[in-house]
Amino acid sequence: MKQNEERYWNPYLCGVLLGIVLYISFLVTGHGLGASGGLARGVTAAMKVVAPGTVNSTAYFAGLGGGEKTILSHWLVWEILGVMIGGAVSGLLAGRFGLGTHRGPQMSVRFRLVFALLGGLLVGWATQLSRGCTSGQALSGGAILSAGSWAFMFAVFGGGYLVAYPFRKLWR
């Protein structure tokens, strides 16, 4: 699997660039970045196609896309499309594009994929509870100095460090 790790840019430089992008977002649109919200709309839109009754009768999904609401015509959806394109382009330019599976040295591909799925399930659930993810809450809310966002951010680091040792076989 191609992964030119030595070509990763300096993290502080990336941070500054990220901060500029985040600033541009606030400057032009009034809001920051996001990711999980776009995925939530994707879920709701898909559910609307296969089970519209469920969407309308389940409060959470109804709020996102019940009745006559247009679901996918929302900035978060456009934005995550952009994220994927941007990530792909950068990967292509840097020689990091191609099929593969990032995993720890002790993990088989199969186990890695299972844990990726499980981790995603938990993260997906948690983002809805906390009303955002690291993009929307930690980065954006952090920059604008929202107290709740900072609390979320520290909790994320806390949660990760808490289980790092028990799950070390995943990554070491």
Binding site: W9, P11, Y12, G15, V16, V21, Y23, I24, F26, V28, T29, H31, G32, A35, L39, W78, E79, I80, L81, V83, M84, I85, G86, G87, A88, S90, G98, T101, H102, F115, A116, G119, G120, L121, V123, G124, W125, A126, T127, Q128, L129, S130, S135, A138, G142, A143, I144, L145, S146, A147, A151, F152, M153, F154, V156, G158, G159, G160, R168, L170
Partner: protein, 201 residues
């Protein structure tokens, strides 16, 4: 005065603006190596503090840019979206998110980048996220009160909470970030020395 109502920029204005912003976001994430779960998870094993560095540098860069522009009167702070504070669900959600991050190796944004570069683990993580969101919709009802009311302070900025002007909070945030960078680098160096010692015959 900024910000603008991009919904008035014609039919394709709003989508175009956000696709461009998203593009830049995804591009930078991938450049930082955050399309790799190995790079991201290394943060939690102390050898590579890139997540900390990128995140907090990003936050203070944006913060300084935002508040300087607000101070000059070019950006209307009242029009900026400030995430409402829900301490209960935010902290619990954050902890669970952190666990899922460690187990799965990504956060939603970085997983999208990984998926976009054809990494299977990124794809599976994203599928998991979609599943988790679905499950949430069907399980949140009994937790509704906690979700909406526990520690719900509405829009609460750090400076309002502390009762100070915004720059005071910013100075504190910047100093804290710089201290964390210094500490983080010290930890990285310590971990490097440990690894070198272990390898020595």
């Amino acid at each position: 005065m900024a910000p603008f109502d991009v919904t008035t920029w014609g039919r394709w204005g709003e989508p175009a603006v956000h696709i461009v912003i998203g593009f830049l976001f995804g591009f930078v994430l991938e450049r930082a190596g955050f399309g790799s779960a190995k790079k991201l998870s290394a943060q939690f094993y102390l050898g590579d503090m890139s997540v900390l560095k990128v995140m907090f540098t990003g936050i203070i860069t944006a913060m300084l840019l935002i508040y300087w522009t607000v101070g000059f009167g070019w950006l209307d702070f009242g029009q900026l979206w400030v995430n409402p504070t829900y301490l209960g669900s935010g902290i619990l959600g954050g902890l669970l998110f952190g666990v899922g991050f460690l187990v799965g190796g990504y956060c939603p944004g970085t997983a999208l980048v990984a998926m976009a570069t054809l990494k299977l683990d990124g794809l599976f993580f994203v599928l998991g996220v979609l599943g988790g969101i679905t499950i949430f919709g069907f399980t949140i009802a009994p937790l509704d009160h906690f979700w909406n009311h526990s520690g719900a302070y509405g829009t609460l900025t750090i400076f309002n909470w502390l009762g100070v002007s915004p720059p005071v909070a910013i100075v504190l945030a910047v100093l804290m970030a710089l201290a964390m960078f210094a500490a983080g680098e010290a930890v990285e160096r310590w971990m490097k020395r440990r690894a070198a010692v272990e390898v020595k015959p």
